[in-house]
Amino acid sequence: MNFELTSTPEQETFRAEVRSWLDEHAPPDMEHPADPGQLTPGGYKKQRQLGRALGKKGWLYPTYPSEYGGGGLSAEEALIIEQELDRHGFTLPPYYDSGGKLGAASIMVWGTEEQKAAFLPPIFRGEVRTWQLLTEPEAGSDLANVQTTAHREGDEYIINGQKIYVGSTHGAEMSWMLVNTHPGGPRHQNLSWFMVPMDSPGVTWAPMDLLFAGNERGAASGHKQTVYFENVRLPAFNLIGGENNGWRVAATHLELEHGLMQTSLRGDSLWERVVRLYKEDKSGGTPLMDCPDAPNLLADMYIDSQIGRLFHLRNYWLQSTGRPVTYHGPQAYLHVKRSALRTAKALHRLFGPYALTTDQEVGLEDGHVEVQQRGSIVAQHPGGTVEIQKVIMARRLGIGRGEPQKSGRLK
């Protein structure tokens, strides 16, 4: 056994290359607001700028084939890029691009050669950023209950409906979505999967007023949107995987969303902030409640973060070595969701009301602690509620069924 992410000399050379490239190309003064909803247009512009620069080198989507604009690199090299970006406080991509991260996997599996050539390179090169459009008012946990419809007229599909909890603050060039193309048809055989240019006439969106905006892991997302479709016309070319085959297409990226995507294997930055606060307080600096079991609470927080790291490390190892991956994704995701609430409670107990305010004078860590309080609640539902994670785990473990269910295809 070896738990260390060791690098070969070649990989270390690559790391040095990435590091010096980033020192040179990462725009100065990039923003890191505690609440990603506070990201300014200027800050966003810099993120996209860095994304395009990374994309040009094939480092934005490093493991995808270079013929489509990816980097053609190994998982280890991708991890090096992630680690080096992390030193600058960013994930890969350096902005919310869930559509690209998830949707691209489906296009790779289900798209025709022409579709791959048309849709993937702009995403992988960072020219286009993409939102995912899945949830609807009547399709939450029951994601297949899509009410947005599309019907075909000639070479076009006409879409009507709405999607919620979409994307982030500063717009997107493309989206992909699940649409009902066979109203009244059998469940799971009535959906289709489309790529949608967001400048199509009839597409509008408006921000949602939520407890907290950013809730995705990885690049924080900012405000969520409601996206409306009113007689939106789409070329039939934009249908991926064939009509009424959308559920199978979606299964590919849902697998990724259910906890397998997290490649951030570093420690927990919140933990480091809290330890600093705690130690400063012991020497009289910052405000700590009179909490007799503080060491116990901190130990629990640390243990939770270690278990999370190890679950993700294991998943990365299983995936990168081609071993079977079944319940492991949702297990890690469940742990992240659950431990977030435990951590929130512990922080509230440790720091009392200080944990709850973003006030510039008295708020802790520029508001990062307060954001965790809200974010931990919001984090319970994206990518499937705690209940949905357990449903998937139970199926994959075969509880009550004898035969464990296989996981969705990833590649």
């Binding site: 946990s141 949602m208 409640m289 079991d293 107990r349 009301p353 709850l356 305010t357 006030d359 209940e387």
Partner: protein, 369 residues
Amino acid sequence: MDLALTQSQEMLLAAARGMVEREYSKENLLLLESGDTDLAETLWQKTAAAGWPGILVPTKYGGEGGSLTDAAVLLQELGRAPAPGTFFSTAVLGVLALMEGGSEEQRDAVLPKIAFGENRIALAATESRYGWSKSLTLTRATASHGGYLLHGVKLFVQDAANADLLLCTARMGDGEVGLFLVDASLPGVSVRPLPGFVSDTFEIKLNNVEVPQASLMPGGRDALEQAILQSLPVLGAYQVGACERVFDMTLDYANTRIQFGLPIGRFQRVQDHVIQIVNLKDAARWTTYEALWKLDESKPDAATAVHVSAAVASEAYYQSCNAAHEVHAGLGIMREYGLTLHTRMSRTLYHYLGDPTHHKVRLAAELGL
């Protein structure tokens, strides 16, 4: 033994529920959350017109002379909204502090005005190190010109926005902690709201505020302790009402939200969240009302019951909101749905007047452990 409310309490409850549903509607609370101070004023005037602020004020000062349990009935209904804390800070904590620690002159001057809704009070006790032990008071009261100069910073003060009077702790020349009733409009008093995941929380700066000798409350810090002890289960009743409302919302959603062709409440995992809320709210209700009864009856072990109920009620409200969020998923975090009004308030009240850990430490002390 009779665990029922009295008939007059039942009538009070029914009236309060009607008024709270009408005036402290979700729509109004969302406006208040957005900072609509005119509406806050209007709602306070309506509350005053109903005679509620006098519920604990003795009749000789123009109040109702009600019991703590009577007040709890009102608070329980306000908690369903959840209404802002002004009423609690003024009509419960403020009145009890005046009764426990005020001079006869102070009571004469203030209690009638409270009963008529003309004065609002905020408790300005906590400071940079948050907590409820005497040693944490750093604000100084220096004797000056026959009165005092108050100087210091009060942090995480609840409900200070419209308060006319501040119950303010300060360290005296002799090292003891004194309690002052301070006119909030005096020069040197500045009030600043604190943003974030809290409700109606403020910083108050006291910059050499000149207060007269008569503003010192003779009961001092001990009287404040006593007032807080009595107030705690009344605040608990607010949390009980809030839990009830969260339960109602969650059960209703579990019964009407259809996913996979069924009301989601048919799934055992969803049921378990609802059951958790019922268990929490019932535990909070009965520990709270027993503590109220013990206080009203001056039972010797009332403090034990108070600390039990305070720990249980704060935890219950906090965890009920969490469980409700699990059931509501995406809808729950939409501001306009109204659940987050409770979530925010449950966080504020979790630490206010002592968090569950604090009360468990006090409980252990009461039990001689």
